[in-house]
């Protein structure tokens, strides 16, 4: 049994790397193919400015996402999730919910397969919904784009994290107090930081871990 599990995990890393790097190359081929097909090359000045405007920030966020989300999603879930994207607003909460539902813990063999299945199903459903949406874009645009519905879709993250917060915080109330208070105080006092909020995920995680460690040592967390 032991060797079985080991070989599954090794296989996941092997296939995960192959898939991921191949998909990375395929993704770069799209803009390259457009350049060749239309014989139109990027404007050097605009390209440099654009890359400088977004790369430092998004590469930092990307690095943080890898470090934070890989232990949650597991190996298979990560190799898939970092290709199919929409992690914070979809894949990660989706996986946490699935793990919670069946009582599997991340980092265990069960958590690993549940994480992978959850990310895979979520990716397939997302891809299909967007595909159908693109096919039906003409009739759908006036509905989804209507000013009446705009306030609803503007608030998708608060609507998601409110319910998810209740589901998770209820189970870990003691661990949650320190990071929640510090993050709310931080963003209320320095609102400009909220725009780059993902950067603060590791900060909040470190606060949570430090506070949990202290409580664990004191014997408050049984």
């Amino acid at each position: 049994m032991k060797t079985q599990v080991r070989s599954y995990d090794d296989g996941t890393h092997f296939w995960g790397r192959i898939w991921m790097w191949s998909m990375g190359i395929v993704l770069l081929m799209f803009p390259a193919a457009c350049c060749l097909y239309f014989n139109a090359w990027p404007e050097a000045n605009g390209f440099l400015k654009g890359v400088l405007a977004i790369a430092p920030m998004f590469w930092a966020v990307g690095t943080i996402e890898v470090i934070t989300y890989v232990p949650m999603l597991g190996a298979g879930g990560s190799y898939l999730g970092f290709i199919t994207g929409n992690l914070t607003n979809l894949k990660v909460p989706c996986t946490i919910t699935a793990l919670n539902k069946v009582g599997a813990k991340p980092g265990t063999p069960e958590g690993e397969v549940v994480g992978t299945i959850s990310v895979a199903v979520s990716s397939i459903v997302t891809t299909l919904i967007i595909f159908v949406g693109v096919l039906l874009i003409a009739p759908l645009t006036p509905i989804l784009d209507s000013p009446v519905l705009k306030p609803a879709f503007d608030q998708i993250l608060p609507a998601l994290f409110g319910g998810l917060g209740v589901a998770l915080i209820g189970k870990n109330l003691k661990i949650a107090i320190a990071p929640i208070i510090s993050m709310v105080v931080l963003f209320v006092c320095v609102p400009s930081l909220a725009a780059s909020g993902t950067i603060f995920v590791p900060v909040a995680a470190l606060i949570a871990i430090a506070a949990a460690r202290l409580m664990y040592k004191k014997g408050w967390l049984k």
Binding site: Y8, W15, M23, V26, F30, F38, A40, F47, L48, G50, I54, F58, G62, V66, I67, V70, A75, F82, I83, T88, N89, V92, P93, T95, K105, G107, E110, V114, V119, S123, I124, T126, T127, I129, I130, F131, G133, V134, I137, P151, F153, D154, Q155, I156, L157, A159, G162, G163, G165, V166, A167, P179, V184, V188, A194, A195, G197, A204, A205, I209
Partner: protein
């Protein structure tokens, strides 16, 4: 010899279609592997089905919001590029910002539908958007194995602390996002709208939790989160209107 450029060129639709089929293939590949492994581990089939159902139900609403992102970007960029970017790696929050930054660098804007993009402006934006999201693709294969074996070792040394550590990681993530919801309360009542919506979502979730407990409505478990999400989003409409009416 070059082809005439159009942001909705059939060539791009075909190229994007091929890439999306490849991504679907990757998802199916990992799904089948994990499913077989789960059965080998002796995990109950019903449990696995419930994971599939929970994940599928959860995904619908966020996926529709992603579709709205595609529609918003398609006015300037055409359909194929936003379709690709938001189906593969892209994230709603990221792609809009990246496209806007690239458009600004070219002296135009995503919201400006009055002028058409030239082919070279388009390829510039496509390159910037693609290169911007490569961090995860490059890093994940490099560090996942080490990262996971580190977590594994830690859990072996002190199982209980390992569990607490994972919970703390979750709580850290949730806290950062909950904190961000309060980021605009300094702007007055409008800034409180996200907070009200979050509270609405929390209340609906608590009601669901009570119903699940009291009525033993197990079926509700799968739908509790989507219900609180849709409910809070629906309430966001009257909340926003009420706040705007109050201010005006």
């Amino acid at each position: 010899m070059s082809h005439e450029f159009n942001v909705n060129s059939p060539f791009m639709f075909v190229a994007v279609g091929i890439i999306i089929v490849l991504v679907l293939a990757q998802s199916v590949f990992f799904l089948v592997r994990a499913w077989r492994q789960a059965l080998q581990l002796g995990i109950d089939k019903e449990k696995l089905k419930s994971v599939v159902k929970s994940s599928a139900v959860f995904t619908v609403v966020p996926a529709i919001s992603i579709l709205i992102g595609v529609i918003a970007l398609s006015k300037k960029l055409g359909l194929p590029l936003p379709w690709l970017r938001l189906s593969v790696i892209g994230a709603l929050t990221y792609e809009t910002a990246a496209a806007e930054a690239a458009a600004n660098a070219l002296g135009t804007s995503i919201g400006d539908a009055s002028s058409l993009l030239t082919a070279s402006q388009f390829t510039t934006i496509a390159w910037v958007m693609t290169l911007g999201i490569m961090a995860g693709v490059i890093l994940t294969p490099l560090i996942s194995k080490k990262l996971l074996s580190g977590v594994d070792k830690l859990e072996k040394r002190d199982k209980r602390w390992g569990e607490i550590l994972m919970s703390a990681l979750f709580m850290g993530m949730i806290s950062a996002f909950l904190g961000m919801i309060f980021g605009k309360v300094g702007e007055g009542l409008t800034g409180w709208i996200p907070v009200f919506v979050m509270l609405a979502s929390m209340v609906i979730m608590l009601i669901c939790a009570v119903l699940i407990k009291k009525l033993k409505a197990k079926w509700l478990e799968d739908y509790a989160l989507p219900i609180s999400m849709i409910g809070a989003m629906a309430l966001a409409i009257p909340i926003t209107n009420a706040v705007n009416a109050y201010i005006a």
